[in-house]
C-alpha cells in the first residue's frame, strides 16, 4: 500500500552568491537535505527542531510554496514537484497551511467574510445566500460568532485570528494540513484552546497533519509520531511518547532535557544536558554526523561518515552510530 504523503530524498537548497558586480555561485544553503518520510492517512506527525534547522522550509516545500531542488513530494502517489503550474494550482486545494503569526497571515484589508468566501469559492462559485451560510457555518465550526463576519482582522485578538486562519485553511476541504508553529505566538491559555480546536477538526475531518513546532511538549501531546530535525536532516523519528520519554539520538536527548518542566520538584531532581555552542550554519554543514561538534558522546567514527537514519528499535529510527552504546 502506498503512503498518503511520501517525501523521497527531498532537497531544498538555496544558492548563495558572492560578489556584487560579478555574482558567482558560492555554494548553497542546504535548508532541507535529503528527507525521507511517509505519512499514513489520518496521521499527525510532529516535526521538531530549533530555529534554522529547516523545519519551516520543509513545510513550505511540501506546500510547494518553495519548489524543491531535488527528490519528490508524493501526495496520494502523485508527485507535486512535477506538476505544471496550472495543475498545481488545482491540486493545492488538497493541502493547506496554518501559519505561525496570526497577525501576518490574514490580509488586513479583507473582512472575515471576504477572506473565507474567497477560500470557499475555490471549490466553485456559490450564490450569495449559500455563500453567507457557508461562511457562517465555517465560523461556527472554529468557534467564532458568525455575527462578526463583517469585521476586519485587526478587530480580533490573536487567538481569534488564528481561528479565522484555521477556518480559511479548512474551507477548500483539504486532506493534508501543514501547521507551522500555529500556537507559538499565542499565550498559554489561548494555546490550549487552539490545540483542542485543531485536534478536534483533524479527528472530525480525518485530516493528515504535519505539525511543526519547536516546543517538544506540545508536539508530544498532539502527534502520533515525532520527527526530529537538525540542520536539514532527520535525526530521529518514532512514536511520540517513546521519542520524548526515551530518546535515542543524543540531540533529541538534549532537546528534551532542555525543556523546562513547570514543576519545581521534578525540575530539581532531573539532570540537564546543556549543549555547547550554537547549531552550525547550513551553508557548510560539518563533515560526518551533522551533530558531532556539539555531541557529548562524539567519537572518531562520528566525524568520518554520515550515519543513515536506521531502524534501531521497532518503529523507531535514529541517525546515530552509538545508539546501542549510550
Amino acid at each position: 500500500m502506498n503512503a498518503f504523503l511520501e517525501l523521497r530524498n527531498l532537497k531544498t537548497h538555496f544558492p548563495v552568491f558572492r560578489g556584487t558586480v560579478l555574482r558567482k555561485p558560492a555554494g548553497a544553503v542546504r535548508a532541507v537535505d535529503g528527507i525521507e518520510l511517509a505519512l499514513e492517512k489520518g496521521e499527525i506527525l510532529g516535526l521538531v527542531g530549533e530555529s534554522g534547522c529547516g523545519k519551516s522550509t520543509l513545510g513550505r516545500t511540501v506546500m510547494q510554496l518553495i519548489r524543491n531542488t531535488g527528490g519528490s513530494v508524493l501526495l496520494e502517489g502523485r508527485d507535486l514537484s512535477q506538476l505544471r503550474p496550472r495543475q498545481l494550482r488545482e491540486e493545492r486545494l488538497n493541502f493547506q497551511m496554518i501559519f505561525q503569526d496570526p497577525y501576518a497571515s490574514l490580509n488586513p484589508r479583507l473582512t472575515v467574510f471576504d477572506a473565507l468566501s474567497e477560500a470557499i469559492q475555490t471549490r466553485g462559485r456559490l450564490k450569495r445566500t449559500a455563500l453567507l451560510n457557508a461562511v457562517a457555518e465555517l465560523m461556527s465550526t472554529v468557534g467564532l460568532s458568525p455575527d462578526q463576519m463583517r469585521r476586519y482582522p485587526h478587530e480580533f485578538s490573536g487567538g481569534q485570528r488564528q481561528r479565522i486562519a484555521i477556518a480559511r485553511a479548512l474551507a477548500p476541504r483539504p486532506k493534508l494540513i501543514i501547521a507551522d508553529e500555529p500556537v507559538s505566538a499565542l499565550d498559554v491559555s489561548i494555546q490550549s484552546q487552539i490545540i483542542n480546536l485543531i485536534l478536534r477538526l483533524c479527528r472530525e475531518r480525518q485530516l493528515t497533519m504535519i505539525f511543526i513546532s519547536h516546543d517538544i511538549s506540545v508536539v508530544k501531546y498532539i502527534s502520533n509520531r515525532i520527527a526530529v530535525m537538525y540542520l536539514g536532516r532527520l535525526v530521529e523519528i518514532g512514536p511520540a511518547a517513546e521519542v520524548v520519554e526515551n530518546p535515542l539520538h543524543p540531540y533529541t536527548r538534549a532537546l528534551v532535557s532542555a525543556v523546562p518542566i513547570p514543576d519545581p520538584e521534578r525540575e530539581a531532581r532531573r539532570q540537564r544536558i546543556i549543549l555547547q555552542g550554537d547549531p552550525p550554519s547550513p551553508l557548510n554543514p560539518p563533515q560526518g554526523c551533522v551533530f558531532h561538534p556539539r555531541c557529548p558522546y562524539v567519537k572518531e567514527a562520528c566525524r568520518q561518515a554520515r550515519p543513515a537514519l536506521e531502524e534501531k528499535l521497532p518503529h523507531r529510527r535514529a541517525a546515530c552510530i552509538r545508539v546501542g552504546e549510550i
Binding site: 530549533e50 530555529s51 468557534g143 485578538s157 487567538g159 499565550d187 498559554v188 491559555s189 489561548i190 494555546q191 490550549s192 484552546q193 490545540i195 483542542n196 480546536l197 485536534l199 478536534r200 519547536h214 517538544i216 511538549s217 506540545v218 508530544k220 501531546y221 498532539i222 511520540a240 511518547a241 538534549a254 532537546l255 532535557s257 532542555a258 525543556v259 523546562p260 518542566i261 513547570p262 514543576d263 519545581p264 520538584e265 525540575e267 540537564r272 546543556i274 549543549l275 555547547q276 550554537d278 547549531p279
Partner: protein, 336 residues
C-alpha cells in the same frame, strides 16, 4: 531590608480608546542574591512594571500615576532624570528579549561594552577595553580578545544574548532586570543562557527580576514568583508553593493548560474567554469573568493580596475566606 522595594505602582496609558490601566497597584521587593520571577501572559503588565521602575515608559501616552520604588533611599519614580541616569545601567541593569534590537548594529561590541564604563567610571580606554574582554570571558565567549572587536551581526543569537548579559553586568550592578531574555532563543540555547545567568548571579550576588510568560522557566529558575494578570499581582509566593499549592484560580488554570502535563487523547484544559479590556475599570477581581469559581461578589468587591501562609499570598476572595481549597483538580471546563 530589601534592595529594591516597589510599592503600589500604577502606570496608566492614556489612549484614544480610553485609559488603559496597564499596571494597577503592583508591589514587590527584590533582595540581593535572590531571583524573583514575574510571570504573566501578554498584556498582563509584567514588562511595563519594570519599564516604569527604570523610567523607560514612553510619556505620553504612558504616565506613572502612583506608587514608589525605593532603591538605596531614592524613590526611582520621583527622582530627577540625572539621578536616574546614574543608577540605570550602573547599579540596575536590564536585558531585553531581542538582543539584535538592543545592540547598535553600527558599533563594534567593544565600543558598546566600554561605553558604560567610560560614562560612569571615567576610566581610561585601555582599562575599559581590558574590562570588556574580561566581561566577555566571564559570559563564556571564547577568544574574547579577538571577538570583542566584532560587530553584533557577526554573533549568533545565543552569543548576542551573552554579549547583552556581559554588557549589563560589566558595571557590576546590584540588580539585573531580565525581560524575557530567552523567549527568542531555542530551547538548547535557552538552557545555556539560564545557566549562565544563574552562575553570574552566584558570583556577583545579584538580585534578579526575571520577567517571563513561561511557567517552565520560572519553575527551574526562580526562588519566588509573582503571577500577574490584567495589571495586578494575583498570586505571589515561593516557587514550589505556587506550583504545589496554587491559591488563585488563574494560576491553577494556567498550570493546568500546559500540554506537557496532559495525558494524550484527553482534551487540553482551557481557560474560557479572553483577558479583560484594560481600558474599562474593573471593580472586582479581573479574572472573575473567566473563573470557574466565580460568585457575584467576585465582580464587585475590590480584592487585595492576602497571606495564606508565611510565604504565599493570593488575591482570590473566595480562597481568602476559605470557601475554596484545593484548586489542583478544578471542574473540567473544556471548550474548543
Amino acid at each position: 531590608m530589601p534592595l529594591l522595594s516597589v510599592e503600589n505602582l500604577k502606570t496608566y496609558f492614556y489612549t484614544r480608546a480610553g485609559t488603559v490601566r496597564a499596571v494597577d497597584g503592583v508591589s514587590f521587593d527584590l533582595e540581593s542574591g535572590k531571583t524573583l520571577g514575574i510571570v504573566g501572559e501578554s498584556g498582563s503588565g509584567k514588562s511595563v512594571t519594570c519599564y516604569s521602575i527604570l523610567g523607560l515608559v514612553p510619556q505620553p501616552p504612558g504616565r506613572i500615576v502612583g506608587g514608589r520604588a525605593l532603591f538605596a533611599g531614592v524613590d526611582l519614580l520621583a527622582c530627577s532624570k540625572e539621578q536616574l541616569r546614574k543608577i540605570r545601567g550602573k547599579r540596575i541593569s536590564m536585558i531585553f528579549q531581542d538582543p539584535m534590537t538592543s545592540l547598535n548594529p553600527y558599533l563594534r561590541i567593544s565600543e558598546q561594552l566600554m561605553e558604560p564604563l567610560l560614562v560612569h567610571e571615567r576610566i581610561s580606554r585601555k582599562h575599559a577595553l581590558n574590562r570588556a574582554v574580561t566581561s566577555l570571558e566571564e559570559v563564556g565567549i571564547q577568544d574574547a580578545g579577538r571577538r570583542v572587536h566584532f560587530y553584533p551581526h557577526e554573533f549568533s543569537g545565543g552569543m548576542r544574548q551573552r554579549v547583552m548579559i556581559a554588557m549589563a553586568l560589566i558595571s557590576r550592578p546590584e540588580i539585573l532586570i531580565a525581560d524575557e531574555p530567552t523567549t527568542a532563543l531555542d530551547v538548547t540555547v535557552q538552557a545555556q543562557i539560564l545557566e549562565l545567568i544563574k552562575q553570574r548571579q552566584r558570583e556577583l550576588g545579584l538580585a534578579v527580576a526575571f520577567i517571563t510568560h513561561d511557567l517552565g522557566v520560572v519553575a527551574s529558575f526562580c526562588a519566588s514568583v509573582k503571577v500577574m494578570y490584567a495589571g495586578r499581582i494575583v498570586e505571589a509566593g515561593l516557587t514550589r508553593e505556587i506550583f504545589a499549592r496554587p491559591c488563585h484560580p488563574y494560576n491553577a488554570a494556567l498550570q493546568q493548560s500546559i500540554p506537557a502535563l496532559h495525558e494524550k487523547g484527553k482534551p487540553l484544559f482551557t481557560i474560557a474567554g479572553l483577558p479583560p479590556d484594560l481600558s474599562k475599570p474593573i471593580p472586582g477581581c479581573p479574572f472573575a469573568p473567566r473563573c470557574a469559581y466565580m460568585l457575584p461578589k467576585c465582580q464587585q468587591t475590590p480584592v487585595r493580596l492576602q497571606g495564606v501562609t508565611a510565604h504565599h499570598e493570593t488575591a482570590c476572595l473566595r480562597f481568602q475566606v476559605g470557601e475554596i481549597g484545593d484548586l489542583r483538580h478544578p471542574l473540567a471546563s473544556v471548550t474548543a
